[in-house]
Amino acid sequence: MTIVNFLIGVGIALFGFVLQTSIGGINRKIVGRMQKRHGPRWYQEFIDIFKLLSKRAVSHGWIFDFGVIMALGGIIGTAMFMPLTNQILAFSNNGVNYDNFFIFVYLLAVGMLGMAMSASGSGNPWASIGVMRALTTMLAYEVPFLIVVLTIINLTNQSSLTGIMEYQQMAGNNWFIIAMPLGGIVGFISLMGMLGKKPFETYIAPAEIASGPMVEYGGKQLGMLFILHEISVFIEVSLFVHLFLGGATNIFEFLIKYFAVYTFANLISNVNGRFKIDQVVTFFYKWPLLMAVTQAVIVIYFGWVI
Amino acid sequence: MTNSINNLELVKELVSKTTTILKEENIDVQQLAFEVNTCDIHHVLSVLKSAGWKQLSYLSAVDWPDENKFEVVYILFNWDKPVYVQIRTKIDRENPSIDSILPIFPGAKYYEREAHEFFGIAFPGNPDYEKQLILEGWDDIPPLRKDFDPSAYSDRKFPSREYPQDYSVTDEKNHSLEKRAERKARAERLRTGGKKQ
């Protein structure tokens, strides 16, 4: 580990931010066209974020600020571990890659904890309700997703993302979305939950609980949360690309896959309504969990992989 | 028996049996109004309630400054026999007061507070009829009384915009047919997307 590794890591986080912000803007345009509108400029999201950073915000005490810093820090830290392709990876040492899958799931949780803490610290009940819903949604989507990942790790005997990528790229192996179709579907549904796209958008719900955890934020804190959101979307979509779509051997492949996955999720999101929070839980613990367990049993105990 | 004509007859019979009717009015096929003595109000309401008119739809008042009376109106509704019954009674305009109907219709609590706020009628029996409900920090006579002048109140309380003389339109040409035709043509252009037909 030298300073170069850390610089690469910061670079990846920055790249993720720029990438997701642009693709998010392009997606807003696509959605606009879908709804027969002109749509905003593709760089609108950048303008939004920089505008927020330029405003004068309010603060509800030290935990309100500290939580935001901890959240953004956790997310930047997580993004630093993310491999972009086989080669572009911040922390690897003589063939040992430190991009363990569980880092992404649990270091991401630090960010979420920081944000939840800060939101609750604002003293606004809407924020607490939003946090409650966010945590409940997390309980819903994580378990089916982790079962699918259990299957993948058991099969590849690797928990490093680059390892899983390379396994899929080897001759004779399919991408896991083809090799394990049920698991792939579960992974995508869980991705929708992770991204907070409709129908799992329950914890934002602007018209219902006044945008949930973000109710008290304005100005720089909200701007930092927008950055956080962009980077965490980058992490989640990249996770899906690496786990199920065979990762990428070069950066263009990565960009194409990333764009396809995010746009697809966004399009599905835009023709759906919103679930109630208990519907989210019952939904995830019905079909996706069943599918995930079926897939796991098929792969682990029968060894049937396409 | 959901025929409303029969229901009207039923109500009339019921009320006339209960009390003396001062005045009766058929408003429409589903609405009836009776004016009764003030002392009979509670009796009539409780009889109607036990006959099925369980819902107090509204309670309010009408100001009759010429007669120097307030007319308090209770509107009841029955979900089985769809007839609205208005029970009206007139009370004195000086120191207006009528006993609360809280024991019969507990929901009347807020209606009575509203009536007190807008007309100044007292409802002894309702523990907090004097609390403010809608008007926050009102400082004048109750606003729905006929002797209250809202325009004067508005002029006194709320500053209005003063326009300089040249703001007002004096040029008659502004309303000429010419301009109107131009506007019409523009609207037509917008509607057809600029295409000449």
Binding site: G32, R56, A57, V58, G218, G219 | -
Partner: protein
């Protein structure tokens, strides 16, 4: 020819630097105006057409927001009763700066058809500073959007200083509020 001698650059003063940054910020602010729609009156029905496909407000970078903390524009749509005005002032004070106020319809301008009501105020800019008025009863979506474009132009020209005026003439505004409303923040029994 490059000189090796050290020459101090003509340094900008702090005020100048701030002004430069402010101009950069103005670019972002005028291209991303988020609305807090305080749908007080009937003009609110003009907002859905101006937001959806027909006129598409989003192409200007504008969009609805859920809370005053996040929003840039306080959009007053229609008449303001006394009760509403109290809440409006409270909401306005909660917004983060810089903030702008856009008032739709004739009621906030001069009372409109409610000019003689005991419950509706006549002139909004006596209580909070208004940056743009859009006249009409109701203004159609074109004029609503035109109002927003005017606001953007005004931000560029640095004429939309309502929030600064509110700071500078705070006592004057408070005085007016007090005269018409009594107290701005009231106690009611349902939120004690």
């Amino acid at each position: 020819m490059l000189s090796t001698k050290f020459t101090p650059k003509n340094k900008m003063t702090k005020a100048e630097i701030d002004r430069k940054w402010w101009e950069v910020g103005d670019y972002f602010r005028r291209n991303s105006l988020w609305l807090l729609m305080y749908c007080t009156g009937c003009c609110a029905v003009e907002l859905p057409p101006s937001m959806t496909s027909a006129y598409d407000m989003e192409r200007l970078g504008m969009g609805p927001m859920a809370t005053p903390r996040q929003a840039d524009i306080l959009l007053v749509s229609g008449y303001l009763s006394l009760k509403t005005l109290r809440r409006l002032i409270y909401t306005y004070e909660q917004m983060s700066e810089p903030k702008y106020v856009v008032a739709l319809g004739s009621c906030p301008i001069n009372g409109g058809i409610y000019h003689d009501s005991h419950a509706v105020i006549n002139q909004l800019d006596q209580y909070i500073p208004v940056d743009v008025y859009v006249a009409g009863c109701m203004p159609n979506p074109e004029s609503v959007l035109n109002g927003f474009v005017d606001l953007m132009e005004g931000i560029k020209q640095k004429t939309m200083n309502g929030w600064k005026r509110y700071h500078d003439h705070f006592e004057w505004y408070k005085e007016n509020q007090k005269n018409s409303l009594g107290e701005v923040i009231v106690h009611d029994e349902f939120h004690q």
